[in-house]
């Protein structure tokens, strides 16, 4: 278990203020926060690259506050890979083991194991500069996991990658976590990574930990404006996926939301709701639990049922209206709370009031399942 006690650090532009955090063994903690909120220094403090001005850090009961990085068994992966350009892929992965003077057979074995897990065995003889972003990040993750660290720190590991690669690597992180059972701290400003990876989430803002909880806690009861703003544009639900005409339907508290996600998986056919179910069962969740989100501006609100091809239409009542100037947020309870964003003009034309009976309509393609 990693325990951070009241750690403070002042680096001028970046600060940490009285940060306390506990990460259980084998836990996947995601730290989320805007750029400049001190996430990277917190990671570097745990890794021993910078030492805190105040506070203490314990790993498995042993204090490591002033311990040098090499004796901590904490490895770090940066957003921009930091592969050693003068070494081949294989030499990069074996770097730490070589420094520790591990036996040649052992190095060979561990490097091959990690490379296979990440699908980079065929790249061993290449130089880092010839790799794509996704390949580079796989190599840098492999370089860290061959050390079998007690804690693996990932500093925005997916931020420098394009959409498809990011999605794939995200699943691989999940798998690595399952295979190695390493404690992982993953820093990000991407909310999807929170839902798909985190056991626990910590929200950081201006050098402080603002909130710690399960992903759902954080998004349902945000204590921080940043999260609240995010929830403001995105309606996020946890539901149970089932198959309906080849597509995924999500049941959220009795409400059935149709999505355009294919049941049999995405383009490469590897990851569909079947996999989610497998994952869910493996993780001991009931049914195939998934998350679904609908952007608030994709939802149409009307006082009468709409005649449209959109697959999702729900009846509900306006519970709250927040008039923010150019945009107006309307909360509608249709059994679960939905937030709809209207332009000021649209809002005035509709003449809505709290308690009004309304209909919400949105297309299956507006439903994002993850």
């Amino acid at each position: 278990m990693l325990r951070i006690e009241k750690v403070s650090k002042d680096l001028g532009d970046f600060v940490l203020r009285d940060v306390s955090l506990e990460v259980g063994s084998g836990e996947y903690l995601v730290i989320i926060g805007p750029t400049g909120s001190g996430k990277t220094i917190l990671m570097e403090t745990v890794a021993g690259i910078s030492s805190p001005d105040e506070g203490r850090i314990f790993l498995d009961g042993r204090e490591i506050t002033r311990e040098v990085p090499r004796n901590r068994k904490v490895c770090m992966v940066y957003q921009d890979f930091m592969l050693f350009p003068h070494l081949s892929v294989k030499e990069n992965i074996a770097f730490g083991l070589r420094v520790r003077k591990a036996a040649t057979d052992e190095i060979e074995e561990r490097v091959n194991e990690a490379s296979e897990l990440l699908g980079i065995s065929h790249l061993h003889h290449r130089m880092p500069e010839t790799l794509s972003g996704g390949e580079k990040q796989r190599v840098s993750i492999a370089r860290a996991i061959v050390m079998e660290p007690k804690v693996l720190l990932l500093d925005e590991p997916l931020s420098a990658l394009d959409g498809v690669t990011r999605e794939k690597l995200r699943r691989e992180l999940k798998r690595i976590h399952e295979v190695y059972g390493t404690t992982i701290i993953h820093v990000t400003h991407n909310f999807e990574e929170v839902f798909s990876l985190a056991d626990k989430v910590a929200v950081m803002s201006r050098g402080e930990i603002v909130q710690v909880g399960t992903p759902e806690d954080i998004f349902r009861r945000p204590r921080c404006e940043m999260i609240a703003n995010f929830v403001g544009v995105e309606n996020i639900f946890r539901g149970v996926a089932s198959k309906s005409r080849g597509l995924v339907e999500i049941e959220v508290e009795g409400l059935k939301i149709a999505s355009a996600t294919s049941w049999n998986g995405d383009e490469d056919g590897k990851w569909g709701a079947d996999q989610w179910r497998v994952r869910a069962i493996r993780e001991g969740k009931k049914g195939s639990e998934v998350f679904a989100s609908v952007r608030s501006e994709d939802i149409l609100i009307s006082k009468a049922p709409l005649e449209s091809s959109a697959r999702n239409s729900f009846e509900g009542r306006v519970v709250e209206i927040s008039n923010g100037g150019t945009m107006v947020k309307v909360w509608v309870d249709v059994g679960i709370p939905f937030m709809v964003m209207l332009t000021r003009r649209g809002y005035e034309e509709m003449d809505l009031a709290v308690g009004d009976h309304v209909y919400l309509t949105f297309k299956a393609t507006a439903v994002h399942v993850f």
Partner: protein, 236 residues
Amino acid sequence: MVLSRSPPETFLATLRSEEIQFAIGLSLKTSIASTVLCILVAVPAAYALARYDFPGKSLVSAILDMPLSLPPLVAGIGLLLFFGASMPGKELAEFGLVFVFTPAGIVVAQFFVNVPFMLRIMRSTFEGISPRYEHVAKTLGCTDAQAILRVTLPMASNGLLAGSVITWSKGIGEFGAVLMLAGATRMRTETLPISLFLNMSCGRLDEAISAATILILVSVVSLCVFEWRFGGLRHF
């Protein structure tokens, strides 16, 4: 102009003369020695300047850069006064470290004039390497020194080569500071530029041109190395 002045046969004949051979030998020895010294001093100093902040850093850096803008002749007279007339200079001489009018003085003069160049190049090289490489290396089990030796220095090898080539070729061509500190004694402190000067002043044009030709070749070769290896000097 210089190259077309005398036929190749004369050049080859003077190359075989004892004096020119001595000058070539002395130039090579002193320039290599001063380049090695520059590397030994400038690499750690440049690393410190690139990585650490300390009070008075800008002052230190300005002092280190000063010889860049100082005429070598002035630097030379400064060195001469230091080693010849000051207390520390005299004490060094008592230990057998005599730099005034000796071949060792050539090395010192070249070193003093060239070390800022080496420092410049190495500093910008180190500044171009993210300290995060070392951070990663340390979490992978390196000590501070191992991180530098296994990661930063290999990554800086291009800059080191560039710096060494330019320091060496500038060292071979150094005249003003060498003239002041080591003097111009035939067959004793006679490097190629000194040889050019001595032969020119007593009218032995063929020898002078021979020395000049070699110096031109050195600069062409080092420029070629630069263009071929680093795509020019503009990176620094």
